[in-house]
Amino acid sequence: MKNRYEFTMDYVRYLDDAGDPLDELPALAADAGRLIDAYRNMVLARTLDQKIIALQRTGKCGTYPSVLGHEVIGTAIGQCMDRHDVFAPYYRDQATQLLRGVPMVNMLLYWGGDERGSAGWELCPQDLPISVPIATQCCHAVGIAAAMRIRDEQRAVVVTLGDGATSKGDFLESVNLAGAWHLPVVFVVANNQWAISTPRGLQTGSETIAQKAISGGLPGHIVDGNDYFAVSEAMEHALDRAHGGKGATVIEAVTYRLGDHTTADDATRYRSADELRSAWDRDGIKRLQSYLHHAGHWDAAREKDLQAHCRDKVEKAVHVYLEKAPEPPAAMVDYLFESLPSSLAGQRERLARKVEGGVS
């Protein structure tokens, strides 16, 4: 006797590279206000991004990973999530964080070397700070989802990661647990083709990343990550499942990292100009803008206003960031524990005697 187990993976896109519909659009396309809000958030994320890179180049910000090429995925995630869901981000999720109420000043502070960047967050105070160690946030996400299950809450967790992160045990172990425990979590893999200099093809022999879901007993979906409709539809579906107690989902959103890995990287060392140029042709922001134009929701004047509005918002945040004094040096021990252990009292006193810029 022989049993056969078969799995399939679908790849979904609704818009062609020029922004013209390839198919009948999902119902969410009827909500023009939502589409315009999405477009505005994408432009804001990109404007902020370009500004932070400029700040880094002029010594006013630390090493920074660009969001370029991830704005569509991030915006779709942010719009679909409920305020009471929990977001477990990595470091290319600026577009989602804007929609989760993380102030731009906080993002600037974080990349500008100030721990207060991950403090506050009044709209979604349970969201995790950015996870720098690759894929580790996946384990937190399933832990949070387990906490929701333990408390019988109808909430869900969304965790994001890159294609490189799917090689790590943290991702695979978390997918495995999400299946075993039937957890309300959505894994969104932003497959941007590059993990610093390692191309997608060297990262895994797996034909798709989404099929890694199968090993944990989860459904996996592939969407065009530059197609707002495809990402939004997949997110809505996955969150409905999670909120409805139907378990976890893995979404592979295929995009391209249009920038360097970080400001400390030089991608011309390992990838061709031709490849980059053709990726720009598939840029999802331009695609949605073009769709909005054709649908009669957008025009040149509104575009001009939006660009000015975004620049102004970013400039104001940058001003606040640059004017903000660093925390007193003693703050570095003040948040280690809830209360300072007596063994640290002497070290805190030494820090308290330090003044900004030197030791007194």
Binding site: V86, A88, E115, R116, S118, A119, G120, W121, P125, Q126, L128, P129, S131, V132, P133, T136, C138, C139, H140, A141, V142, G143, I144, A145, A146, A147, M148, R149, I150, G169, D170, E173, S174, N176, L177, A180, Y335, L336, F337, E338, P341, S342, S343, L344
Partner: protein, 342 residues
């Protein structure tokens, strides 16, 4: 199920009663007590629910508190460490068991880069009120990788508390304190003395203080400083020294990080001599931090160099030779004789 643990679990919570229990039974009592007191306490780990843990530390908890609060996890230590962080950030108080300390290393990234830092990196917005429990140390003829004492690895990490009980009473009181503490605690249980002695433990929910050494025996001539299973040999050495007319003070450090230097320095100021005893290897061990603290804080009180009696700077031998690795009573007595002679 162990009879006394079963009895302890079935007792009426309202009427604390005293039990003669071993150290591992005291762990069980403390877990049951705090799960009763606080609904946000959950326990998780490999084989801990239905099986009650390979050392039976969690026996009976699933039956009493249900599978939602007592969770068998897949066999993935990194996952256990990280899931615990996620739960803790949302207000649960998870107590995760690593089956043996030798398998905790897969969880290092989660413990060091997340559990220990969450409060600091969010400036208090989120924090991790969690406990990672692990049996540690040698002396039970266990297989390879089951006998190491690597507590110094954790003591080096800012943001972690490292707590080691050395008796049933301290296991009960310190574990309650660890669970109630709003920050991450590595709770290392010396498995060599899991069942070595019984003590009367009153299950009244009273915690013992963290960040504090316990002076187990007062003395005037030398301070013996130890923790974990080595406390047994250290106390026996103090008995033997007493017969020789040497009065030894014995201190159980208990919380090896952050370190209660004050108690240690006060004792050394009185005795003028210090011998540190630990099972872990010497190089870079917590004994070095204790010795350096004494050198910095009580140098002028010292009448002899600080001496360490420790495991050797080598891989923990398989069990045929483990007794030669572990500090013995004779080693401690000899070290004291050496410093007394000076």
């Amino acid at each position: 199920m162990n009879a006394s643990a079963e009895k302890a679990i079935r007792q009426d919570e309202a009427a604390p009663i005293s039990h003669r229990v071993t150290l591992v039974e005291a762990v069980n009592l403390a877990l049951a007590r705090e799960m009763t007191n606080d609904e946000s306490v959950v326990v998780l780990g490999e084989d801990i629910a239905t099986n009650g843990g390979v050392f039976r530390a969690t026996v009976g908890l699933k039956e009493r508190f249900g599978y939602k609060r007592v969770m068998d996890t897949p066999l993935a230590e990194n996952l256990i460490a990280g899931v615990t962080v996620g739960m803790a950030t949302q207000g649960l108080k998870p107590v995760a068991e690593f089956q043996f300390m030798g398998f905790i290393y897969a969880g290092f990234e989660q413990i060091i880069s997340h559990a220990a830092r969450m409060r600091n990196r969010t400036r208090g917005r989120l924090h991790c009120p969690l406990v990672y429990r692990a049996p540690f140390g040698g002396g039970i003829h266990a297989p390879e990788h089951h006998s190491e004492s690597t507590e110094a690895l954790f003591a080096h990490i800012p943001g972690l508390r490292v707590v080691i009980p050395s008796s049933p009473q301290r296991a009960y009181g310190l574990l309650l304190a660890a669970i109630r503490n709003p920050d991450p605690v590595i709770f290392l249980e010396p498995k060599r003395i899991y069942r070595a002695v019984t003590q009367t433990v009153t299950d009244n929910g009273e915690a013992l203080p963290l960040d504090t050494c316990f002076t187990l025996r007062e003395g005037d001539d030398v301070t013996l400083i130890s923790w974990g299973a080595s406390i047994m040999e250290t106390l026996q050495a103090a008995d033997r020294l007493s017969e020789q007319g040497v009065s030894a003070e014995v201190i159980d450090v208990a919380t090896i990080s952050p370190l209660d230097r004050e108690t240690l320095l006060c004792s050394v100021a009185k005795t003028g001599r210090a011998v540190i005893v630990h099972e872990a290897c010497r190089n870079g061990g917590v004994g070095a931090e204790v010795a350096a603290s004494i050198a910095e804080g009580a140098f002028l009180d010292l009448q002899a160099p600080v001496v360490r009696v420790t495991g050797y700077d080598t891989v923990m031998p398989y069990y045929r030779n483990e007794q030669h690795y572990l500090p013995q009573v004779e080693d401690i007595v000899a070290a004291v004789e050496q410093v007394i002679a000076l």
